[in-house]
Symmetry: C2
Subunit: 354 residues, 2 copies
Amino acid sequence: MIGPRPVTIKDVAREAGVSYSTVSRVLNGYPHIHPDKRRRVLEAVDRLGYSVNLQARSLAGGHSQVIGLIVHDLGNPYTAQVVQSIDEALARAEYELVLHTTHGHHHKEAVYVDILTRGMVDGLMMLIPLGPTPYLQQLHERRFPYVIICDHQQYDDFSPTVSTTSRQGAYDVMRYLIALGHRRIGFITGRPDFISAAERLEAYKAALAAYGLPLDPALIYTGDYQYRAAYTATNALLDLPQPPTAIFAANDLSAFAVYDVARSRGLRVPDDLSVAGFDDVPQSAYMHPALTTVRQPLLAMGEAATRLLMDTIADPSRPAERIVLPTELIIRESCQPPAHSERPFKPSAQPKGE
Amino acid sequence: MIGPRPVTIKDVAREAGVSYSTVSRVLNGYPHIHPDKRRRVLEAVDRLGYSVNLQARSLAGGHSQVIGLIVHDLGNPYTAQVVQSIDEALARAEYELVLHTTHGHHHKEAVYVDILTRGMVDGLMMLIPLGPTPYLQQLHERRFPYVIICDHQQYDDFSPTVSTTSRQGAYDVMRYLIALGHRRIGFITGRPDFISAAERLEAYKAALAAYGLPLDPALIYTGDYQYRAAYTATNALLDLPQPPTAIFAANDLSAFAVYDVARSRGLRVPDDLSVAGFDDVPQSAYMHPALTTVRQPLLAMGEAATRLLMDTIADPSRPAERIVLPTELIIRESCQPPAHSERPFKPSAQPKGE
DNA sequence: ATAATAATTGCAAACGTTTGCAAGACCGCT
DNA sequence: AGCGGTCTTGCAAACGTTTGCAATTATTAT
């Protein structure tokens, strides 16, 4: 790289006729500066087009104004949305974003955490679908500011987290389906090693139990949040001697697969088969019929996480706050009472354990 | 931030019984090192769990191993896909990614370029839908490695670029539609200030002209690549006294809006209205009917751009390479010959100006 | 006026690394 | 044994900034 030597703090100092430490202090909002010199410095900065070298600032013990974000997979809309809102919130707070994707390789997390927290960033946000890990303990002990974003609530007790009531969301879907009169509800799970998948499965079972419905293991098919697996799952479910009248897919993408299988078999949604998803990705509203699903407050999650991290950076020893954001059942067109039910099933007024 | 002082190169040196410069050289693959010392250093690194401080390395004139990526908007699937593939390619090359979104604010680009190229990154990638700008000229003069990614080809003559034959792609759609027998083809444009939008509009007109079809301005409706505008556009198009038999939307998202409007009016796609999109976002294959569209090689674009940037970093004065990747017409189910055409229109064997 | 206090400033050290330079060790030759 | 050369190695300077310390100057209270 060639060309004009970048202008440094010393150039500004010379131009303004002050020492370079004064320039630094002006730039960092240090209180006791003579107004006259402050003005001269600011003018020189402007004239020379100076901007700070973040590496040097960070090395010298200042802040880097950079936040690290580690995500599991950029490819799905869920992540993309959260990342976007974090990015926007961070931009407002004048922070840069260093993005790291583990591409599903769990073991890379620790490596990235190590690289990033080694002076490169002022704080860390992690959007990972798995449970607590040893490096969080270290981070906590080092008082390094970080925030966990997840869609499940089960976590350690020292990490600041932003999560959603997604377990409740899954429960809500089930309650809705049951209230419509469905008694055989198929469930396509998420990727089993993700805690969110386990939580939704739990909710499925809990709702069944609460309303006194039998749990038929044949109705539960293990997916992985991807289209392919859900496609297979749906076929298996519909091939059952006693197929379900409704299918609850652990995420919207899986629900799309249910749509397609239904269509390929000449089944109409919702007339012949009710379908519910989870996440409310933008596409879900455009599908036909529009998908009934659970909305996760993705934008709010990113914003809350950013705010939480900013607070933690401001005071690294503040107690870990845990923000839980509400999910919302979005009722659209993909569910109706089952074809051959005489009347919608009325759940008892007060189901146990809700 | 508290806790154990991070282990530095000096700690490693002490542990291995060598000088710290030797450690640095080992770590940077310097050739003339005694095998014995190299081993001792590597062992010490392992034992102490050392990893380099990128700020310091970068400050001292080394490489930061960080690449900056400036995108216009993370929210759309197009960008998300390209970013993902860049991220993967970069990870393979052992680079970090600093991501910047301008959120559509054109003027922020220059600011981000300035911040990032000020030592923070070794190279820059820009995914921006607009034309050449002054800061590119500067970057070029400074010999700072950068790559432009765009889906249009018109650019300056010194910037390394990765682009697609998207103009040809639009032309292909039109040729296909015309070959099916459509004579009144509606066009919903992209955001007018994006060059890609202008290129596609040009292609639309060029195809019409090449096949001797009249250009009816009423059939061209200005959109902005978003759902909302396309929805309005479709309604306007279908309200025409002589509505089109096919609609070509400048991107898939807009095509989805066409689907919905058609549905809301009781029109069947493709029986009553043919629809074609552009981009081939993943969702397009799942729609019903599956959308005929133009696939942009998003993954290949990310990879090519990364490779190009790596090459440029290795030799900053190499001549600007321009990679043009082919688009591909993906014929699915959303188009068929118009309802009332007696027979498919046969374009002359050799249309002019193709 | 004078002492005490507060505001303002500059110097120099530090942050963790890379790298030019020079010195020492080692090699194969004659 | 002595010479020129190539390997290895360590020292020290540099990268651009922040910040503790001490010195200087302005302000206030007595």
